[in-house]
């Protein structure tokens, strides 16, 4: 029996040709030297029964992808009588490399040029006769799809087979591929000696966990409850830590810093204590929450659950023109928008990437969370607080979905969605702590600069001109707040809150710091003052605006640098500002109309 191998680059129509030549008789079989099964079929060729083998599509005979190794091992272990090499005519300039590589093995060959119709449309003409004599092998144009040229190709194959040339000698081929074999062995030796695959749960355990976590109906509720519990966990541990740190910072101020500046001029002590120290202290008190947030986040990520979340959410995401990975990035945005925006680099489709980048700034990041926790603590009872916070998260998701749905026509995606599901892993404590620590460091180095500059700016604007009472409407800040009053009054946002919003442009971290300076109070005193000045409807409207409007300057800078488009950056700014205004307006006016 003769043996014919079918070889070519991926997507040249090799399987179509194989099916045409074999009819329905194909079967799957094992071959010496390789571990994957190959399709083969018995066909009549000339006067002989021949076995036709469909080899995997490869780009390079000397490459090291699994398929390329399979082809080499097959040729080094099995004698064959003829190779049919199939290439795509319209890419002949590129694909001839594979033909010439195989020719070097001195096997009887037939070269079939597929997709003739496509090549013709592209204006490509191939002088097959001259090429055949130059390459010393039959060269035949075919169309595997429509069957054109197939009889001629089969005839050429039959002619060669009938010449009864000696079959290939696997040992000689193996020698010719010596160098590649050497590299394979070296690769294997290096990997087994120096590479350690992390310990994973056994397949069974992962399967059993998946049966529950990816359950048809339980999966999504479990996912959202898990998120809710994680947030609860962060705050029930984080809030006492936060209070402790604030108490400590207060002692430093009253015990150390105030005596130190007692003799200095009022403007200097004001700048140092009310400006710089106040701002830094307010933000420092929120560091525990951020650490906890990223500890939990990296735990979820490293455990392998995030890819499962992508699986659960993809059907919904696809309807919005996004994919499950977009959802993962959106979730990351709940830590910080900036790394989430940078993370969209994994998407190769630019439209989908831009759409995801438009959506991410609407996710409730940890900086906005600080503002909400402070205001919720000031204006809502502890029993209502988690519900209010949860509703803000729901609102965040809602604005993201709305944005994606509205803009998906503009940014249409063509990228396939394929993700590996890793087995569940126990993240090591070291990994989690390292990650949490790095994120906090990153956050502090970036945030501190913004906060100090921002808070000093606020202090300046709320204390100057010197003729004005600090924090009053006569100061620069008050004047700016007044300027925006016609736009912000219908939202229930008063002058003081308006000033805080203006500085929230720089970074959300400074909103509370700004309020501390504006009211000249901090901590519990500031909370008490705010509870007197505004009611819960105003507070909610303010929080909705803060949630949706333009994210911090770092996010804006990242948007611009990642999209390489100022127009896109402006679109994001204008869209989020308008949406924030509309949502706050609708909420505030409806609540007032209902009598609250």
């Amino acid at each position: 029996m003769k043996r014919i191998a079918l070889l070519g680059m991926p997507n040249t129509g090799k399987s179509t040709l194989f099916n045409r030549m074999s009819g329905a008789s194909s079967r799957v079989g094992n071959w010496p030297g390789i571990t994957v099964d190959l399709m083969s079929a018995k066909i009549l060729m000339g006067g002989h029964i021949a076995e036709l083998i469909d080899l995997p599509g490869i780009y390079d005979l000397h490459g090291f992808s699994e398929d390329e190794q399979v082809v080499r091992h097959f040729l080094s272990n099995n004698a064959i009588d003829l190779v049919i090499v199939l290439i795509n005519s319209s890419q002949i300039d590129r694909q001839l490399s594979l033909v010439l590589q195989i020719k070097k093995l001195n096997l009887p060959m037939v070269l079939a040029l597929n997709m003739t119709d496509e090549a013709k449309r592209a204006g490509i003409t191939i002088d097959t006769d001259s090429m055949a004599s130059a390459m010393d092998m039959p060269v035949i144009q075919i169309s595997a799809k429509y069957g054109d040229g197939l009889p001629k190709a089969l005839q050429a194959t039959a002619n060669l087979i009938n010449q009864n040339l000696p079959a290939s000698n696997p040992e000689i081929i193996s020698a010719q591929l010596q160098e590649d074999n050497q590299i394979e062995l070296e690769m294997e030796a290096l990997v087994s000696a120096y590479v350690q695959i992390p310990t994973t749960l056994t397949g069974n355990t992962t399967d059993n966990i998946d049966k529950v976590l990816l359950h048809k109906w339980l999966g999504l509720p479990l996912f959202f409850s898990a998120m809710f519990i994680l947030f609860q966990f962060i705050f029930s541990i984080g809030t006492p830590l936060q209070d402790g740190l604030a108490w400590l910072l207060d002692i430093v101020r009253s015990g150390l810093l105030e005596p130190l500046f007692v003799g200095s001029p009022a403007w200097l002590s004001g700048l140092m204590l009310d400006g710089i120290y106040n701002g830094v202290a307010t933000v420092a008190a929120f560091v525990p929450i951020i650490i906890l947030f990223f500890l939990v986040m990296s735990m979820v990520e490293d455990s392998g659950y995030l890819s499962r979340a992508a699986f659960l959410m993809d059907a919904l995401m696809a309807k919005m023109g996004l994919d499950g990975r977009g959802f993962v990035m959106m979730l990351m945005g709940f830590g910080c928008n900036v790394p989430a925006l940078m993370g969209t680099r994994i998407m190769r489709s630019r439209p989908m990437r831009l759409l995801t980048m438009l959506v991410i700034p609407l996710s409730l990041c940890s900086a906005r969370l600080q503002v909400f926790i402070f205001i919720i603590a000031a204006l809502f009872s502890p029993s209502k607080a988690p519900i209010i916070l949860f509703s803000l998260y729901v609102m965040s998701f809602f604005t993201m979905f709305l944005t994606a749905v509205l803009f998906q026509g503009r940014y249409q995606n063509v990228e396939p969605f394929i993700l590996e599901l890793p087995p569940y892993r126990f993240p090591t404590l070291r990994q989690i702590i390292l990650r949490g620590w790095l994120e906090v460091q990153h956050f502090l180095t970036r945030a501190t600069k913004f906060i100090v500059i921002g808070v000093v700016l606020v202090w300046f604007m709320t204390n100057f001109p010197t003729t004005a009472t600090p924090g009053s409407v006569e100061t620069y800040a008050g004047q700016i707040g007044h300027l925006f009053a016609p736009i912000l009054d219908p939202l229930g946002i008063n002058n003081q809150l308006a000033i805080a919003l203006i500085f929230g442009f720089v970074a959300k971290e400074i909103v509370i710091g700004a309020l501390a300076v504006i009211y000249g109070l901090q901590g519990d005193a500031l909370m008490a003052q705010m509870a007197v000045q505004i009611d819960w409807v105003q507070a909610m409207s303010f929080m909705l605006f803060t949630l949706i409007y333009t994210p911090c300057l770092s996010t804006i800078a990242t948007l611009k640098s990642e999209s390489k488009s100022s127009a896109f950056m402006w679109l994001s700014i204008v869209w989020s500002l308008s949406l924030a205004w509309v949502v706050s307006f609708a909420f505030y006016q409806t609540a007032r109309w209902l009598g609250y």
């Binding site: 997507n11 399987s15 994957v36 995997p56 998946d210 990816l214 993809d314 599901l421």
Partner: protein, 76 residues
């Protein structure tokens, strides 16, 4: 010969052809999809969501549209 998306959940089949453009083909092949390999569908997400496919020791999720680029042989 049928499409991967037509394979009933829990059953296995052999890949008989992958008809995808170059980038999708690269992605699939990097994850271990190749002609002759056995795969099975572990589960499907609701609302026509992605398929959870297993090839050997690798678990992969992919959408139905992309799964339709993979032809399978389910006779055995």
């Amino acid at each position: 010969m049928q499409l991967l998306s037509q394979l009933p959940t829990g059953q296995s089949a052999l890949i008989s052809a992958i008809e995808a453009d170059e980038s999708l083909f690269h992605r699939l092949s990097a994850l271990g999809f190749r002609v002759g390999k056995r795969l099975s569908i572990i589960r499907r997400a609701n609302f026509n969501g992605p398929l959870h496919v297993r090839l050997g020791t690798t678990d992969v999720i992919l959408r139905q549209v992309d799964a339709d680029r993979i032809r399978i042989n389910a006779q055995e």
